[in-house]
């Protein structure tokens, strides 16, 4: 009987105050969605770091007018460099063009506008110790005749990681602000609910109903709303995985390992747990200290 009473009170409470409930669900969903995507981004970045960890390439691009002697000198030096793995990979202009065609096959007009001559030939080397990438890049960037530029994948990646990192921080900040708004709405919802049930509550206290019994409908009401918010947020993450990661960003699959479904699915219990705990705590604080129920 009591469980039935509590549940029907929850349903009535949510419906009575439906605009507030919807507002609470939306802010919760936005906050949790951002939290979820930040978490996913975090796992993704560490995966990418592992992915590239041992596979870092340093590319040494040669000048257009590089002479054969200069090229051979660089090649010999690379081959005798103790920090560099064998074999040293040479990419001619033609090979570079082939790769270019392959990479940009989605943009034929770009390929048509490009001639093999404008591309630089390059040496591509892998490092024995990937952590030395900066030193190697620096070494060949300076004092080497015929070297146009040295591209260190790690540098590029660390720039990418920086961008992802700041996106993640931004996401977490917005998630925090939205989370705060959600908490205030939880407090407000409970106050409104407590006000509209003040008669019942005063009678219950008078006749000696247990405190948990008086408070449970209020707490469950916001926990329930929080769980709906978590489900909505999870839906948004899943949609993001389907339409953005596996859709729009598909061409980036070569540098970005795909976001695994297992990682996305794990977000459902995580977000639901966060939502339930946070709303329960906010509800309890409101009931205990603000309404002093």
């Amino acid at each position: 009987m009591r469980a039935k009473y509590v549940l029907s009170e929850v349903a009535v409470g949510l419906w009575r105050n439906v605009t507030m409930t919807v507002a609470m669900i939306i802010t919760m969903a936005v906050s949790l969605g951002l939290l979820g995507s930040s978490l996913l981004m975090y796992t993704q970045v560490s995966k990418m770091k592992d992915f590239f960890r041992d596979d870092v390439q340093v590319s040494i691009f040669l000048k257009q007018d590089v002479t054969a002697e200069q090229r051979d000198a660089i090649k010999t030096e690379l081959e005798s460099d103790p920090g560099i793995k064998h074999p040293v990979d040479y990419e001619s202009k033609e090979a570079a063009f082939k790769r270019f065609q392959d990479q940009f096959k989605a943009a034929p007009e770009l390929i048509a506008a490009t001639k093999p001559e404008v591309l630089n030939e390059s040496f591509r080397v892998k490092l024995k110790n990937p952590d030395q990438h900066a030193d190697i890049a620096k070494k060949y960037r300076e004092n080497h005749e015929g070297v146009d530029s040295v591209v260190d994948q790690r540098e590029l990646l660390s720039k990418l990681f920086n961008i992802l990192g700041s996106l993640q921080t931004l996401g977490l900040i917005i998630a925090g602000i939205q989370g705060l708004a959600a908490l205030l709405l939880v407090g407000n919802t409970i106050q409104v609910a407590a006000y509209s049930k003040r008669r019942e509550v005063s009678v219950m206290k008078l006749v000696g109903a247990a405190n948990w019994f008086i408070q449970a409908p209020f707490v469950l009401e916001v926990i329930f709303a929080g769980l709906i918010g978590a489900v909505v947020a999870f839906g948004a993450l899943a949609a993001g995985k389907i339409f953005v990661i596996d859709g729009t960003l598909k061409p980036l699959a070569s540098i970005m390992p795909p976001v695994a479904w297992s990682d996305v699915l794990v977000m459902l219990p995580v977000l639901a747990g966060v939502a339930a705990v946070v709303s329960a705590v906010a509800a309890w604080i409101t009931l205990r200290f603000q309404i002093k129920m």
Partner: protein, 226 residues
């Protein structure tokens, strides 16, 4: 049943205490009027008995338990031993007489089956047989107060605490309510009634405790309003 030992209640920011070193004992089965002008400390007394507040000094002992030091989570259980009636009835407007009384049972964990058995009995006892399914707004003031008494009594409490129960009622209806309280008292329930209705006090000739300025100024076994 109820014992106050040198109870002082001082509210913060108040210049003088609401109750000042009050001692008093009420035996099981007593019927006691607490009278006194507004602000004399009567409401403080009621709140202390319900453990809505705790004394600043002294002890409030109800049914051999010091309720001043009682842990707050034990308070609900304690309140089940006290029935309460107020001037403003405090009924739930969207529930019938039956539902109002049943609500009090159900929220303390009694089943619907128990409610269906007990509620009609108690409504019959307070003289509302046949009006179980009326809503409060369909009942007269006296009838509403009877519902409130039924709700207070349905758990068979040891103590019935009535805070100006006739304050909103005309003299004839007030007397009917008093008869009802008297009948409940005869079942062995201790009745404590706070009032400033002199007619009623004079008619009933029960024990009268007069409070003034936070102190007991009179305690008479078969008193009048004075």
């Amino acid at each position: 049943m109820i014992r106050l030992e040198h109870v002082t209640k001082r509210y913060p920011k108040a210049s003088r205490p609401s109750l000042d070193d009050v001692s008093c004992e009420i035996e099981k089965g007593d019927f006691v009027f607490f009278i006194g002008p507004s602000g004399s400390g009567k409401s403080t007394f009621v709140k202390l008995l319900l453990r809505e507040i705790t004394p600043s000094k002294g002890k409030v002992v109800v049914n051999e338990r010091d309720i001043g030091t009682m842990r707050s989570w034990k308070v609900p259980n304690f309140r089940r031993s006290i029935g309460c009636v107020f001037q403003d009835f405090r009924l739930l407007p969207n529930r019938t007489a039956f539902e109002n009384v049943a609500f009090a049972l159900e929220v303390i964990g009694k089943t619907k089956t128990v409610a269906r058995r007990v509620v009609p009995e108690v409504l019959e006892l307070v003289g509302l047989g046949g009006k179980e399914h009326r809503y409060p707004h369909e009942l007269s003031g006296g009838e509403q107060q009877r519902v409130a008494v039924a709700r207070a009594f349905v758990n068979r409490p040891l103590i019935l605490l009535a805070d100006e129960p006739t304050g909103n009622l005309d003299p004839d209806t007030s007397i009917e309510i008093m008869r009802l309280l008297d009948r409940i008292n005869r079942t062995g329930t201790t009745v404590v009634m706070v009032t400033h209705d002199s007619n009623i006090v004079n008619q009933m000739r029960r024990r009268v405790v007069e409070i003034e300025g936070g102190r007991i100024v009179r305690d008479q076994p078969r008193g009048v309003y004075g």
